[in-house]
Symmetry: C2
Subunit: 113 residues, 2 copies
Amino acid sequence: MARVSFRIVFEDRTALGPGKIELLERIAELGSISAAGRVFGMSYRRAWTLVDELNTMFAVPLVHATPGGTGGGGARLTALGERIVREYREVEATIHAGTADALARIDADKRTG
Amino acid sequence: MARVSFRIVFEDRTALGPGKIELLERIAELGSISAAGRVFGMSYRRAWTLVDELNTMFAVPLVHATPGGTGGGGARLTALGERIVREYREVEATIHAGTADALARIDADKRTG
């Protein structure tokens, strides 16, 4: 079936899409930025760059990282980080529910004209 | 204000986003693929490539082009082309109406945390 792929674009042209949200969800789950990045095949540097983007996009950080000693430190979502993930997934659910019928029509049009 | 940017992605991985839809709307308005492309600063070749993609994405073409004689030929949307533009804009309106409140919350979160 057809689906809607979306991102939220802010006035300052920063954007929040599925890649950043999935990274946040994995950080929450795994407690580590580098472990979360590895799930998506990202380098340590790439995962940190995305987290840095996320933390500077918002008025306060979305991810709190603790310095790595033995065991490599850890990371968790801040209260704002958790809320943004939840709000993004709510937007996604609203979009999917609201467009399902129209997408089915467009999909049928695509197949049969 | 924040906004949702989206595209419709089909199972065969082709996609329909704002660029192609705006090109279709300009073709309908101007009756010419190259004139429509110029509105977006596209080369003649680029506009035709997009139209060709659109025409092969769907079971039947979205754009009907007539050979160019004196005056350079013309182009118009087929019945399916008109329907796809309308359906896409309906999906867009549904998305915007359905997500406005949540986007306002996310926007406020972005500004003030």
